[in-house]
């Protein structure tokens, strides 16, 4: 009999033991004879990584070998599943995806180990201790409430129940891992913030150390969210790309906090202000990603994404949340006060605009938090349920994001501390009129013409003009452009691109529901669509009715689109597979509704202008975030003499006191 799953369980237990030990040595082993303990912390962190990875590899092996004696495999896989979905099914359910979460957590911890020479030893040790403590919480959660290795013996089923067909898709292969890299990555700046509070060293150095970690985690989160949105767009068959679903909100809240954190960290590093606020954001960003985990995995809110409800899991995560967030916020309340700096700045300064940025992002965050939690609160108070819908979020988000766009457009002309009017003037005197004209001209092509769309187009154009002008000036003056600055510029252009995409696609799309029989012709905007006929096709684990449509755009060459109505064999569930002709300027999207008899079908046709811009903008934002990390400044952190010297003093002081 195959004993591998039992070894997986043992590996998890080993990782948990190492996490406990590393938490103790990391947080406690800073005394006089700390050197040995410090080195052991490092090796125990690596050990957590090795054991977690082994456990995960064993789970994947169980999936590949169709070991249906493992309950989790039996519930989430099927022998008919293609091999690549068998692998990705390992993170298709609650237990396995949490194991992936742990593996990614240990990867981040190993990354901190690799870069530990850049930080004072005591500080790095504390960070590793805090991360191990968090990982201990994750590991015990997996071990006690969500064990992926539970067996179904002797009731082993002959075949598995299959992976949810919605998840049998390329999107699922990459979306969760990327999202988790982002969620869990926020644990690193969190650990840095808590370590800084514990060590009482709330200086600019702390924020400089945090910045690369925050950027990478944020970039991964950005990509993960964009991928999820893209996946929903082509897989759910409704042509929508954002639903304000509680689980989407759960990923959006840490993103908003992390975006605010990136900006606030910049101010703290460069100018030494916002210190207390930055600490709070670092704590908040990770806390929100834990809150997201609670929302998704406890069953307190249900959605398409929700995992199986289990009260035990909910109470565990809630207790963990109370300890981690409550503990760190208490520490913040006690220690965070002494860090106020009296550095002045004027209204027209980068500091002030960063403040505006932070206020807007935090207000947005509050809106999403309210919209997500209010239904629960309402249920607690009145016992009945309400649903806060899309209009609520849009009502707040449209003006908030427009205000943010206006703030972003002035960034290239603003200096730290104060900016002379002469420097700002061109942004208003030349760039703004240019943007208004440009945006106004584009508006001419929109239908319906809306004030908000016009504003969005103008503001996005303003961002593009001021940033492009900035690049042009730098190129002409042959002045160097640090990678971090280039990264910021690209991220801001990405933001403008997303704003344009969202504004245009959400107002200018054409949607038509038609009854069509083979041979019928209809119109979608300016394109002619002909329904040629239906045929039966077979996939590896489904059968499908496939429609054949010929789309002829006005003045373009015809192409065919083949949407499917699939019936998955193992669960008998029906899935709509939309057919999309993607384009930079617009998508044409056809999905099948119900058969109406006599060979006729209800057909849903969409014309989606600029929908790709929403995700391409996110791609640019993430690219900008990663570029900033590659800046020389962060690579040269090593060998910072002053940090080393301080370290020596500190350990000397430690010796005296112990």
């Amino acid at each position: 009999m195959n004993m591998l799953p039992e070894f997986g369980q043992i590996s998890l237990a080993c990782a948990a033991c190492l996490a406990l030990a590393a938490a103790v040595t990391g947080l406690g082993g800073n005394g006089a004879r700390g050197e040995l303990l410090r080195r052991s912390t490092v090796s125990m962190v690596v050990g957590q990584f090795v054991f977690s990875t082994v456990a995960f590899a064993i789970l994947v092996t169980a999936f590949v070998n169709d070991d249906f004696s493992v309950e989790y495999v039996a519930n989430n896989s099927n022998s008919l599943l293609p091999w690549y979905y068998k692998i990705s099914a390992a993170w298709g359910g609650h237990e396995g995806s949490f194991l992936l979460w742990i593996v990614i957590m240990t990867l981040w911890m190993v990354a901190v180990v690799v870069r530990r020479q850049n930080y004072p030893q005591r500080f790095a040790n504390r960070v590793l201790g805090i991360l191990s403590l968090l990982n201990l919480g994750f590991l015990s959660f997996a071990f006690f409430t969500s064990n992926p290795f539970t067996r179904l013996i002797p009731m082993t089923p002959a075949d598995g129940a299959d992976l949810n067909p919605l998840l049998q898709d390329f999107g699922l292969i990459v979306h969760p891992p990327l999202l988790y890299v982002g969620y869990v990555g926020l644990a690193v700046p969190f650990a840095f913030a808590v370590a800084a509070l514990l060590e009482n060293r709330l200086d600019a150095a702390w924020s400089r150390w945090s910045r690369p970690w925050t950027n990478v985690a944020w970039a991964a989160l950005t990509l993960g969210i964009a991928l999820g949105s893209w996946w929903a767009y082509y897989e759910l068959g409704w042509g929508g790309w954002w639903f304000w679903d509680p689980v989407e909100n759960a990923s959006f809240m840490p993103w908003l906090a992390a975006t605010a954190l990136i900006h606030s960290l910049a101010v703290t590093e460069k100018r030494g202000t916002f210190k207390s606020w930055t600490l709070l954001l670092a704590i908040a960003a990770f806390s929100l990603s834990l809150l997201g985990a609670f929302i998704v995995r406890s069953g307190v809110l249900t959605s398409v994404h929700a995992f199986a409800v289990d009260p035990e899991r909910g109470s565990y995560i809630l207790a963990f949340l109370a300890l981690v967030v409550g503990g760190s916020l208490t520490l913040y309340a006690l220690r965070g006060g002494g860090v106020r700096a009296a550095v002045g700045y004027q209204l027209m300064s980068r500091e002030f605009f960063m403040l505006i940025n932070n206020v807007i992002l935090v207000v947005s965050l509050a809106v999403v938090l309210w919209g997500t939690l209010a239904p629960i609160g309402y249920e607690v108070l009145t016992g009945s349920r309400i649903s806060i819908g899309v209009p609520f979020f849009n009502m707040f988000f449209v003006p908030l994001m427009l205000a943010l766009a206006a703030a972003v457009s002035l960034v290239p002309v603003l200096n730290w501390k104060r900016t002379r009017w002469a420097a700002i003037k061109p942004a208003f005197a030349y760039a703004l009129p240019l943007a208004v004209v440009g945006g106004g001209l584009t508006l001419y092509f929109t239908e319906p013409r809306l004030v908000m769309v016009a504003l969005a187009l103008m503001l996005a154009a303003w961002i593009v003009v001021t940033h492009a002008n900035d690049i042009w000036k730098r190129v002409r003056a042959r002045s160097s452009m640090p990678l971090s600055y280039a990264g910021m510029t690209i991220a801001h252009l990405g933001f403008a691109m997303s704003v344009i995409g969202v504004a245009v696609t959400s107002t200018q799309s054409i949607e038509a529901d038609r009854r069509m029989a083979p041979g019928d012709q209809t119109e979608l905007g300016t394109a002619a669509v002909q329904f040629v006929g239906m045929q039966q096709v077979r996939g590896p684990n489904y059968v499908a009715d496939q429609g054949n449509f010929i789309v002829t755009p006005a003045g373009g060459s015809p192409y065919s689109l083949k949407p499917e109505k699939r019936r998955y064999l193992a669960r008998g569930s029906i899935m709509t597979e939309a057919a999309i002709n993607p384009g930079f300027m617009s998508d044409t999207y056809i999905s099948l509704g119900e058969p109406l008899g006599d060979g006729a079908w209800a057909v849903r046709l969409h014309f989606k202008p600029l929908v790709r811009w929403v995700w391409l903008g996110c791609l640019l934002m993430a690219l900008g975030g990663v570029m900033a990390v590659a800046d020389k400044r962060y690579r040269r952190l090593r060998a910072r003499q002053d940090a080393q010297v301080r370290e020596v003093h500190e350990s000397a002081a430690g010796q005296v006191s112990t």
């Binding site: 008919l80 249900t302 909910g314 109370a322 409550g326 939690l373 249920e379 009945s384 669960r571």
Partner: protein, 188 residues
């Protein structure tokens, strides 16, 4: 003032935690037996989804074991639940009756066309009148009735694989309804 303000985030968090805790403990309520358990399913008359002129009454759904599922297109959990209902419909002889709750008829029809129709019949309850009779607090909710219309079990929230295995399947087995082992179509 300045020192106290540092405690504000902690206060906000505690508030969220309290809401989360209570919201979470509501889950227990989902497990609580309803006052209707072992009582007869109430009399009702409601129009059919596909033919609004036709009225379905309690007598129409009696005669064999039945699952009455309250659902709506605005309910995201219902979407998550749908695949399991499809599976139950395919693999068992239990009668599935849908109550389309506080919903739009056109949307409901479109939903069933898109995702498949597991129900033997669907009645509409646009104003939630039938819902009040049944003590429905939201969607989805599912009632298990025997052939005489007595309510044996009520599930608030989604019917998933676990609920099927632990709650519904054993009760249905006692009524003589077992899960068929369907041959895999297309074979392996």
């Amino acid at each position: 003032m300045s020192r106290l303000s540092l405690f504000v985030p902690l206060g906000v968090f505690v508030l969220i935690l309290v809401v989360g805790w209570f919201g979470f403990s509501l889950d227990d309520r989902r497990q609580m037996p309803s006052a209707l358990i072992d009582k007869p399913f109430p009399e009702f008359a409601a129009p059919s989804l596909y033919d609004q002129a036709r009225t379905v009454t309690r007598a129409d759904i009696l005669g064999r074991p039945t699952l009455v599922n309250v659902w709506a297109t605005w309910c995201t959990t219902c979407k998550a639940e749908h695949a399991e209902l499809m599976r139950i419909a395919e693999r068992t002889d239990v009668q599935l009756v849908g109550v389309n709750y506080k919903d739009d008829v056109a949307k409901a029809q479109r939903w069933l066309a898109d995702f498949g129709d597991p129900y033997d019949m669907v009645v509409v309850d646009p104003d939630g009148v039938l819902g009040v009779e049944l003590g429905v607090t939201g969607a989805p909710e599912t009632f298990l009735l025997d052939g005489e219309g007595k309510i044996l079990y009520k599930r608030v929230a989604d019917v998933n694989r676990r609920i099927w295995r632990d709650e519904l399947a054993p009760r249905l087995a006692r009524l003589g309804i077992v899960e068929k082992d369907l041959p895999e179509q297309g074979g392996r």
